[in-house]
Each structure stands twice: as structure tokens, then as C-alpha cells.
Subunit: 140 residues, 2 copies
């Protein structure tokens, strides 16, 4: 797990520091879609100088380099996922748990037994035509 973390970091072009390895390793080991605070509370005991800011900074860095995915399914706080392969998520409005949904496209009845869905949200992010054109003019 430790080596996998280092491999993932270097493969994504990130210099593997002790903190970055710890956080990457945590996300590879725990498929619970943790928040910053969960990661912090679990790592501080073995890394007492660790700062919350470092976790924020590192997660942003990892996300920008596509080493992890930032989930915005929770309306309050960001959650993070070490699984970068395309898949969807379900969050229970009562207990807050986030569950992986290994299916592209819309859900079928197979899942109706596992949970009751009240909201479906499909979000795309990227760059719009006019911003791409503006960037072209400025950069060339």
C-alpha cells in the first residue's frame, strides 16, 4: 500500500513527500470517501505535526494531478476518493454514508433493493467554447 501510494504519486508527476505519501496511502486503503477531518483525525496519531492545511493543500494537488477524485455529493463538505476509475455515488440523506455505484448511465431496478433514490444529479465540468476561444487568442 505504501509503495502503491508512491507509485501513484510519481506516475501523476507529484514529488512524494512523507505527508503526501500518508494521505495518498490513506485514500488507497480506505474506500470510505473520507473528508478532510476524517483523514486528519486518523493520521494525526501517527504523524503528530500534521496540519489540516497540509491535507487541504495536498488533496487539491492530488486532485489537480488526477491522482484522486473530489466528490461534491455531500452538500456540506468535500469527500475524497482514491478510486479514479469512472463510477457513480449514492449518499444516504439520513446517515450520510456514501456508497459506490459501479454503473455508468442511469440506474436500473437492481439498485432499488439497496436504497431508495430521491435525487439524481449529473454534473459535467470543463471549459466552454467562448472561454476556450479567449484562451487561444491570448496564448498564441
Amino acid at each position: 500500500m505504501h509503495n502503491e501510494a508512491i507509485e501513484r504519486l510519481t506516475a501523476c508527476g507529484i514529488k512524494p513527500s512523507a505527508q503526501r505519501i500518508s494521505i495518498m496511502e490513506y485514500l488507497l486503503k480506505h474506500r470510505t470517501h473520507p473528508t478532510v477531518d476524517m483523514i486528519y483525525n486518523d493520521l494525526v496519531p501517527t504523524m503528530p505535526t500534521l496540519s489540516r492545511t497540509t491535507i487541504y493543500n495536498t488533496l487539491k494537488l492530488l486532485e489537480e494531478h488526477n491522482a484522486i477524485i473530489e466528490l461534491r455529493i455531500d452538500k456540506k463538505t468535500a469527500h475524497y476518493d482514491g478510486d479514479t476509475l469512472p463510477h457513480s455515488h449514492f449518499q444516504c440523506k439520513s446517515c450520510g454514508k456514501i456508497i459506490d455505484v459501479q454503473m455508468q448511465g442511469l440506474l436500473n431496478e437492481q439498485y432499488e433493493t439497496e436504497f431508495v433514490i430521491e435525487e439524481t444529479e449529473i454534473n459535467y465540468r470543463g471549459y466552454c467554447k467562448s472561454c476556450l476561444e479567449k484562451a487561444k487568442k491570448t496564448n498564441n
Copy 2:
């Protein structure tokens, strides 16, 4: 538009007050996926006593009664949509604009000319099996 707002409110079981009508009407008229602040700034001139808190309260009420949809595509703030029919959204990471994507399921090349997609996120929200079972036991 005024009457449509009242109709939507009553159809969703919401008593139509002046403020609620204004906000509902605004969301029916402006398909720009506004934030609380956009709604506030646009409505205050004609409704000087309007409070931001009322907008927060009203939007939550409207959403709970399925009169509108709350969008969480923007990582900073909530946006709101008066169009409750199922559709997806795209947000430009540069200008922040949110664009409707009238397509269920994953995007095809048709959209590649309109924008470049970097992230795809499919979120479901509802209730998980164990929470549903807990609720059953408590309520019966």
C-alpha cells in the same frame, strides 16, 4: 409568469406569499441557475425589505416540495433551477457559467464542439437500506 409561479406553488402545496411568489417567478423567468445572492440583488430593488434569510428559507422550502431543484455543481455555492424536468448540467471552470445539458445518460460527441469536459460526476441521494429498516421499526 406571475400566475405560473402561484400555480407551481399551490400545486406543490406551498402557500403563496408575496416573497415566495417573487422568488418562484424569478426562477421560472431566469433560466440562468442563479445563486442566493443573484436572486437577492435582482429582487431587492423592487422589494426593499427582502432579506437574504428569506431567500435561503424559501429556496429550501421550494426544494423540499419539489418546486425547484438545488444544484451542487458549483463547488462554492448552491445554484437553483426552476426547471424540475430531468436534465444535466455543465459548468465552465473558467467563467463559472452553468449550461443545461438536455440529455440523460452519458454525453456523446455532439457536445464536444460546445465544451471540453474534464470531470463527470453522477450523484444519487436518498435513503439506504439500513436507515429505511431503522425507520420502519421506530415508526410502526
